[in-house]
C-alpha cells in the first residue's frame, strides 16, 4: 500500500508528549435564567497515536466535550493544551486556523457538499489553508487521500451517487487532507449498517496504526468501542474512567 508514502509529519519528539491535555474543564450553558452545567470538571490526557473511544449515555456531554476538544467551542473554565499550545484563550479566528491545520472532523451525517464531486469535497479544507496550495498540488493531495480510502474510481461522483459508507470514506479523506494530527469522529457509524460500520472502523484502525494519527471516536455502541485501545466513560459531565492513558506496552509512560 502506498500509505507509507504519506508523511503526516508526526515526529518522535511530539510522540513523547500528550497531544491533548485537559485540566478541570467546565462547560455551563445558560438557558434563560437557568444555568445548565454540562461538563463538570473534566481532566484527561491523550497521547500521540492513541485510538480512544468516548462513551456515555445520551445527554452525558460527549458531543459537548468533543466540540471543545475540536476547538469548535470554548470551555467556560479550565485549561486545554493542544500539542502543548494553550487553546482556551484563542480568538475565533485562531481556533479556525487551528482546526484547519491540526484537526479533522468526521460527522455522523457525513456533511458532504451536495452536487459537488468527491474530489472537490476532499479539496474543501485546502481552500482555507494559511498558505494556499496550487490547484495541481491540491488535486494531487486530495487524489492521494481518495486512493487511501479506496475510492479512486469514484473521485468524480457526487454524494448522491455514493453509498453511505462511501460518503463517510469521502468525509474521512476530507478530514485528513490537511495532514492533521488529530481526528475527531462523533458517532461516525451512527448512520451506517453494521457491515459498512465495520469497514469504516477498520479504516480508522488502519489510519491509526499505519499513519499514526490520533483518533477520538464518540460512540454509544460497545462493539464500536472495542476497536479502540482505550475507552473513556463519561456520565453526567464527569469522567467515570479511562481519563489517562494506560502505560504503553513498551513501558515508557
Amino acid at each position: 500500500m502506498s500509505v507509507l508514502a504519506l508523511n503526516f509529519g508526526h515526529g518522535a519528539l511530539i510522540q513523547a508528549m500528550n497531544v491533548i491535555e485537559l485540566r478541570d474543564i467546565y462547560k455551563t450553558y445558560h438557558v434563560g435564567e437557568l444555568d445548565l452545567p454540562v461538563l463538570r470538571g473534566i481532566s484527561l490526557s491523550v497521547k500521540h497515536g492513541e485510538l480512544v473511544a468516548l462513551m456515555g449515555a445520551s445527554g452525558s456531554g460527549k458531543s459537548t466535550l468533543m466540540n471543545i476538544l475540536g476547538c469548535l467551542d470554548h470551555a467556560t473554565s479550565g485549561d486545554y493544551l493542544l500539542e502543548g499550545q494553550e487553546v482556551s484563550g484563542l480568538s475565533a479566528d485562531g481556533r479556525a486556523l487551528l482546526r484547519n491545520k491540526k484537526i479533522g472532523f468526521v460527522f455522523q451525517s457525513f456533511n458532504l457538499l451536495a452536487r459537488t464531486s468527491a474530489l472537490e469535497n476532499v479539496i474543501l479544507p485546502l481552500t482555507y489553508t494559511h498558505e494556499p496550495l496550487t490547484d495541481h498540488e491540491a488535486n494531487r493531495r486530495a487524489m492521494e487521500l481518495i486512493k487511501l480510502v479506496g475510492l479512486e474510481d469514484r473521485a468524480h461522483h457526487e454524494p448522491s451517487q455514493l453509498s453511505g459508507g462511501q460518503q463517510q470514506r469521502v468525509a474521512i479523506a476530507r478530514a485528513l487532507v490537511n495532514r492533521p494530527s488529530l481526528l475527531f469522529a462523533d458517532e461516525p457509524t451512527g448512520n451506517l449498517d453494521s457491515r459498512t460500520s465495520q469497514e469504516v472502523l477498520a479504516m480508522f484502525e488502519q489510519l491509526n496504526r499505519e499513519e499514526g494519527i490520533t483518533i477520538i471516536l464518540v460512540t454509544h455502541d460497545p462493539t464500536v468501542a472495542r476497536h479502540a485501545r482505550r475507552t473513556i466513560h463519561i456520565s453526567d459531565g464527569m469522567i467515570v474512567d479511562g481519563d489517562f492513558a494506560p502505560p504503553a506496552p513498551g513501558g515508557a509512560a
Partner: protein, 463 residues
Amino acid sequence: MRRIRLFRILRTIRTALKALRRNPMRAALTALGIIIGVAAVIIMMEIGKGSSAAIQRTIANMGANNLLILPGTAASGGISFGAGSVMTLTPQDAEAILKECPAVRSAAPVVRARTQVIHENKNWVPVFIFGTTAEYLAVREWAAMAQGDMFTDSDIRNASKVCVLGQTLVRELFGGASPIGKEVRVKSISFKVVGVLSSKGANMMGMDQDDILIAPWTTIKYRVTGSSATTANQSSASPAASTQVNTLNKLYPSDQLNLYPVQSAAQQANTPLPVRFTNIDQILAAAQSGPEIPLAIRQITQLLRERHRLQPDEPDDFTIRDMTEMSKTLSSTSTLMTNLLLSVALISLVVGGVGIMNIMLVSVTERTREIGLRMAVGARARDIMRQFLVEAVVMCLAGGAVGILLGCGSSFLITFMLRWPTETSLAAIFSSVIVSASVGIIFGFYPAWKASRLDPIEALRYE
C-alpha cells in the same frame, strides 16, 4: 503576501461560481431582477440620450443658434417706442458682422414686409416676406432647395424681381404645381419664382417656417416697401408708409408718399449719423455653435457700437436677441423626462437588489450546514462573509452583463422598429457595471454578515 491575497480572491470567486452552479436556475432567476433593472436603465439612458440629441438637432433647425439683431429703441421724452422704432442698421453692418466677428458663422440683412401675394386668381398673406441675401439660407441652416435655385448677389445689386417660395406658399398659390418660372405679384410688382425652399416645419413659436417668400432685400426695400426712409415695421413712426394690408394702398400704386422733399445726394452725404438712408429691419446672424452664442453677442455688440460711433456712456442703438432661453427650456424638459424614466429604472434595479438579498438570505438559511462545515474545516468568519458577498456580487455582475446586452439590444430594436432615436451610451454601460456591483455589495452584505455570524456548532446541528 500580495500574491497570496490575489490567489485567495481568485479562489473565492471560483468557490462562489461553484456554489452558484449548484443551483443555476435559482441563480438565473435571482439575477433576472438585476438583468431587468440594468436593461431598463440602459434603455432609458440610451433613449434619453438619443432623444435629447434629436431635440438638439430640432432646436438647431428651428434656429436656436440664431441671433436676431434689431435696430435700437427710440426714446423721446420718456416714451420708448420699442425695438425697431429707429433705423440704425445697415446692410453694411451685416457684412461687417460676418467679416469681423469670428464667433459668427454667417449673417444676413433682412427687410420685412407683410402683404398679399397673388398668383392668377389665388392670393395669400404669408407669415414672412423677407428681403435678404442668399446668405440667409446659410444662417437658417436651410437644407438644399427643393426646386430651382436661390437668387444671386447680382440679383441683389440689380434689385431683380425674383423670389424664392416656401412650401406652404407654393401649396396655397399653385396647389402643388411647379411654380418655377411663374410669376407672383406682391403689391402689384411681378416677381419671377426662381426656386422653392425645402420644408422646415414650425419654429419654436409654432409659426410655419414654410409660409415664406424670400426676395433680394434691395427689391423688397426699394420696390415693395417703397420708401428708403421707413421700415416695414408696423410700429414705425410713419404711418403713411405702412405696409399693412390696406385696401387704400391700391389707390397709391407706388406707395411712395413723401411728406418731405426728397433729399439730394449732397444733402444725404451731409446728414450726420445715425440717420441712414439704407437701413434694414434686422440682421439675422448664426453663431458658430450653441456655446459660442454669448461670445458672438459680445463681438457683435462691440462691432456695432464702433460702427455706430457710440460714446461709452451712450446706450446701444440696437438689440440682440437669442433663443438660448427657449432651447434651454426645451432641452431641460427632455432631460427632466429622461431623469424621470431613469429613476423608475433605478427603482427596478433596487427591487432587483432586494430580490438578491431575499434569495441570499434563503440561501444562507438553506446552506447553514455547509457554512458550519466550512467553519469546522477552518473557514474564518471573514472567509464565509467574503464567500457570500462575492456570490452576490458575481450574480449581480453576471446579471448586469446580461442586462447590458439586453438593454443595448432592445434599444437597437427600438430604433430599428419604432424609429425612435437612441444613442449608445458608454456612461450608461460603465455606470451599470458599477451600480450592479454596488447592488451586490449592499444587498449581499446583510446575508453575508448573517452567515459569518453563525456558530459552527449550531450550524452543523441545523436541520
